[in-house]
């Protein structure tokens, strides 16, 4: 027995160790992971983000270096906290909060302590950093905006959040991604592909060389520059015109579908959302629930199009053969139907043919044309659907397919909508119930983008390319097929002539005659859209929206435009003038109607916008 004790213990210990080693090395795989986190550092090699140019080659967006203060919490030692927070200009509470956040993320892995210092801040701190163990400065790249406009189109980049990282494993904490606008839409093209270097570290987190001589490393693919269809000068000018007003401008080149201008007002300087000031500024913009600067009115705002829609009513009626361009329709100052309150019109000469109807914006004319269109069919359902399909062929009532990540569909009702609304077949409904559609009120809504697009289609007499913002991706020959494919509407080309004539008369002798610019033949249509808001639960009518839709020159259209000014009253008052100035600016590069420019630039609607918030009774449309 005595001989066997040590022998037995030896064998037992062998078994215990074998079991322990089995557990550590084979059964429990968590150590593998721990080791990788521990000893291998992945260092990303970020390629420079692509630049963004306007259609004339003007640089809109470049990059600038920024400096992040990083911290490895574990390495923070003997910190003179007082002088450190003084240098950074933060409070003790902020310091504690940031540091504990970094601890939670990882004691060992560097995390951003204070991101995006400017060059100046960096210079001041640089020589003192050696005193602060555990902190270091890391260079990174931020956007550098060359222009003060187009924030809504360009968008901004920001640090990825948890949701993005979950959906797309490419992104890691601290990476930047395009959050809105072109930056989001063309993220992968602008971004390129980051390279990864695997670095072997020692226990002090010090690099001691590439892991396995770099066989796992990848080389970064640089981001591509892109050229936008925007005209920077036009954007800047439009933004100037829109100051102190709310609304937007969309300009499209009809022949190509290229978006020349996309302005929403009020907007902000894109530089406002760069760097450390971003989160503060973004919150301020986000919280402005009155002016809503982050709300892209031209893409996301859905409004009753008003009178410009009458052009579409005419086109459909012509295509359906229920009216001819020559037929004259008399107006008694209102359109009477079904024994209800008549739909009013305004004073004008009569009776009017189509050109006159459009030029004078006669409600009776278009209600008649619309009603005939619907009643051509056996049932109002069929009639509405035929009407709906014509409009759908323009791309209305749906997303436009343009290459920006925001937008709304607008709304073009169909029979299903009215059947549901009137609880058909229990209750029947007729063309007259939908008569407001004829004049662009009622259920119809469009975004200013869709209004401009409509003008563009009319200018082209029935065909279009999808509006788009991308002109060229540097190093790539072709655009997406989506934007090189010609689309045709269901309206024959010849039907556009009387409508275009009518729109020319609007400018020449109709509702927009006082915006005339010598030598430029503009076809346009004013719009004045009623609108309402809720104050203390009561529906209150506000001053009408001012709308103008146009294209020019008449015979060889180079620009189609929609201008929308909230509470600007009648169509030509603000929107018409702005459209005229934009057209001249684009076609000629200079302005001949100085009086008109002064009126627009100096004019402000801030008083109008303040009315509903004044808490006092107010008068509209004055």
């Amino acid at each position: 027995m005595r001989k066997l004790l040590l022998l037995g213990l030896t064998l037992c210990s062998g078994l215990v160790f074998a079991a322990r080693l089995f557990y550590l090395q084979i059964y429990d795989s968590s150590f593998q992971k721990l080791s990788e986190n521990n000893a291998i550092k992945m260092v990303y090699d970020f390629p420079e983000r692509g630049f963004i140019f306007d259609r004339n080659g003007e640089l809109l967006v470049a990059n600038q270096p920024a400096y992040d203060i990083m911290v490895i919490p574990r390495n923070v030692k003997d910190l003179d906290t007082l002088s450190f927070i003084e240098d950074l200009g933060i409070s003790r509470e902020e310091f504690d909060k940031k540091l504990s956040k970094a601890w939670t993320y990882s004691p060992r892995i560097p995390s951003p302590f204070m991101p995006q210092l400017t060059k100046e801040e960096f210079a001041a701190l640089q020589e003192k950093m050696y005193q602060y163990k555990g902190f270091f400065i890391q260079k990174r790249s931020l956007r550098d905006y060359q222009v003060q406009h187009s924030a809504n189109v360009l968008g901004f980049i920001g640090e990825v959040n948890d949701g993005i990282m979950k959906r797309n494993p490419y992104y890691r904490l601290g990476d930047y991604i395009g959050m809105t606008g072109v930056e989001k839409q063309y993220e992968e093209i602008l971004r390129g592909v980051k390279g990864v270097k695997y670095i072997q570290k020692d226990r002090f987190n010090k690099d001691i060389g590439p892991y396995k001589e770099g066989i796992f490393d990848t080389i970064p693919v640089s981001g591509r520059d892109i050229v936008l269809t925007l005209d920077s000068e036009l954007q800047a000018y439009g933004q100037l015109l829109m100051q102190n007003k709310r609304g937007g401008i969309v300009a499209i080149e009809p022949k190509t579908g290229e978006i020349l201008s996309l302005i929403t007002a009020p907007s902000y300087d894109p530089d406002y959302l760069v760097g450390r000031k971003r989160s503060k500024n973004y919150t301020a913009l986000y919280n402005d629930s009155i002016a809503k600067p982050l709300f892209d009115r031209v893409l996301e705002g859905q409004y009753a199009p008003g009178s410009p829609f009458k052009a579409l009513t005419s086109l459909i009626a012509l295509e359906e053969g229920v009216i001819t361009a020559e037929e004259r329709i008399s107006c008694s100052g209102a359109y009477y139907y079904g024994g209800r309150k008549p739909l009013g019109c305004h004073a004008h000469r009569g009776p009017l043919d189509m050109v006159g109807g459009i030029a004078n914006s006669c409600n009776t004319y278009f209600c008649t044309a619309y009603r005939r269109t619907i009643e051509k069919y056996d049932s109002p359902q069929e009639g509405i659907d035929a009407w709906h399909n014509h409009l759908a062929s323009f791309g209305l009532g749906n997303y436009m397919g343009y290459d920006l990540p925001s937008g709304r569909k607008g709304y073009i009702p169909d029979s299903g909508f009215y059947n549901r609304s009137y609880n058909y077949p229990k209750y029947r409904w007729y063309a007259t119930a939908t008569i407001s559609n004829a004049i662009g009120q009622g259920e119809v809504t469009m975004t200013p983008m869709q209004m401009a697009h409509t003008a563009s289609v009319i200018a082209n007499k029935g065909w279009f390319y999808r509006p788009h913002i991308i002109k060229q991706i540097k190093g790539v020959d072709t655009l997406p097929q989506k934007y090189t494919e010609k689309h045709y509407t269901s309206i024959s080309a010849e039907h556009f002539d009387p409508v275009i004539e009518g729109m020319f008369d609007v400018y020449n002798e109709g509702t927009a005659e006082y915006i005339q610019i010598p030598g430029i033949e503009i076809c346009g249509k004013t719009g004045t859209a009623e609108n309402f808001t809720r104050i203390d639960g009561e529906v209150v009518q506000l001053t009408d929206h001012s709308i103008f839709v146009a294209f020019a020159p008449k015979d060889d259209p180079k620009i189609a435009i929609a201008v929308f000014v909230e509470n600007g009253y009648w169509g030509s008052r603000w929107a018409g003038r702005i459209a005229g100035l934009m057209i001249e600016k684009y076609l000629r590069g200079e302005i001949s109607r100085q009086d008109m420019e002064d009126f627009v630039i100096n004019g402000s609607l801030e008083d109008e916008y303040a009315k509903p918030f004044s808490g006092e009774p107010f008068i509209i449309n004055q």
Binding site: R2, L5, T10, F17, R20, F22, Q25, I26, P107
Partner: protein
């Protein structure tokens, strides 16, 4: 012809196992100490080069040990023991302070650690004493003398302070047991260790209560045998008193770093950044090796120097990381084989001196192996002792070489006599 016959009669299995362990050890030291600088085996600034030098000297030592007559070791065991004690005492005056411990004599860039040699000396002295015809292990005062031989060097080593090395001397209780020491000593040792751990784990009052309950149960069960009640009371009281003294010593005599070490192993504190860092990193290194390991010199933990003292006490973590489960088991088997081989050889010795010595060598190697691998794999508290033949260090390597080859010599000469 003496030398020739020695070479013919030495146990080649032991020698080959020794060489395998030393070679494997060096490969891992090489990997653990590889730095950015160019590989050079002659530049003694490199740890692996130094170890190569130590191994070369070991081979010279072996030749000397085998050349000396076997009788020398028995005859001069007392002298060797006294020299060892003197060298330990001398440390208090001439020792060099390294990291707060006076364990070294310094000769230029080389140092000698007498405690590594004292093990062989104590084993020789114990073997000599036990093989004396007049010694009877059953007698209490003879037991006392044997314990004295064991504890004297240990007591000189503890205040260096190097409690880990001192602990090793308790391994010599195994040869004592083999030669007839009553089992009660081992049992007492075991109970003491058990009470010690239980007290730290669940607290002294629970231990006292548990001891009382067990004593009561045993007494009720055995009361028909009319056992002496007093005996129960004394044993129970001793156990409880021990538990209380452990608690007192742990909380009042131990320093915080000692308490930390125990607490971590007992799972009472999880602290991956503090004192448990060594063990934690060592487990990560071993665990990340997987089945086949990352390959020689490919260990990321090893390269990153995450495991402190990796080339010395924690060298086994390199084995675990770079050679995986397969390599680790291979090393464990080499050790088991060597220890068992030594036990077998010891049992076949005709002379009691050689038998006790052989048994002592096996016990010391076992203890080192057991405590070191237990520590590196996170089973035991951190006790700083090297893995025999594997860990970096001249003194340790030479100490173990001398320890082992004296026995190889004794074994071969016994063979001749047979």
């Amino acid at each position: 012809m003496q030398r020739n016959s020695t070479l013919q009669n030495i146990d080649w299995i032991t020698v080959i196992l020794y060489l395998l362990l030393v070679a494997a050890g060096w490969m891992n030291i090489y990997s653990a100490s590889l730095s950015d600088t160019a590989v050079s085996f002659t530049n003694l600034d490199n740890i692996y080069a130094k170890q190569l030098f130590f191994i070369g000297l070991s081979l010279v030592l072996i030749v000397f040990i085998l050349a000396v007559d076997a009788k020398f070791y028995e005859r001069f065991s007392s002298v060797i023991y006294l020299i060892a004690l003197a060298s330990l005492l001398g440390l208090f005056i001439f020792g060099k302070d390294i990291n707060g411990a006076r364990s070294w004599y310094s000769f230029g860039s080389f140092g000698l650690q007498p405690s590594e040699f004292a093990k062989a000396a104590a084993a020789l002295a114990l073997s000599k004493y036990l093989s004396d015809i007049q010694t009877n292990v059953k007698l209490f005062d003879h037991q006392l003398k044997a314990f004295l031989i064991i504890l004297l060097p240990a007591l000189l080593i503890v205040p260096q302070p190097d409690p880990g090395s001192a602990l090793i001397f308790t391994a010599l209780i195994f040869p004592l047991y083999r030669e007839g020491l009553h089992f009660i000593y081992l049992l007492l040792g075991f109970i003491a260790a058990f009470l010690f751990i239980a007290t730290l784990l669940i607290g002294v009052y629970w231990v006292a209560a548990a001891v009382a309950v067990i004593a009561l149960l045993l007494w009720f069960k055995n009361r028909k045998k009319k056992r002496n009640l007093g005996k129960y009371v004394i044993i129970t009281g001793a156990c409880v008193a021990f538990a209380f003294s452990v608690s007192y010593i742990f909380n009042n005599v131990f320093e915080q770093r000692h308490r930390d070490r125990f607490n971590i192993v007992l799972g009472k504190e999880v602290d991956t950044r503090g004192i448990g860092y060594n063990t934690n990193q060592s487990e990560i290194a071993i665990g990340s090796g997987g089945f086949l390991g990352k390959g020689w010199t490919k260990g990321t933990q090893t390269k990153g120097n995450f495991v402190p003292e990796q080339h010395t006490d924690y060298i086994f973590s390199t084995v675990g990381e770079e050679w995986g489960f397969l390599g680790s088991i291979f090393v464990v088997i080499l050790f088991l084989w060597l220890i068992i081989r030594l036990l077998i050889l010891a049992e076949r010795q005709k002379q009691q001196f050689a038998r006790v010595y052989g048994y002592s060598v096996a016990a010391i190697l076992f203890f080192h192996f057991f405590v070191n691998i237990g520590m590196v794999t996170g089973l035991f508290p951190t006790v700083g002792i090297p893995l025999p033949f594997f860990s970096y260090g001249g003194s340790a390597l030479w100490g173990f070489t001398i320890l082992l080859f004296i026995f190889v010599k004794l074994d071969s000469s016994n063979f001749i006599n047979r």
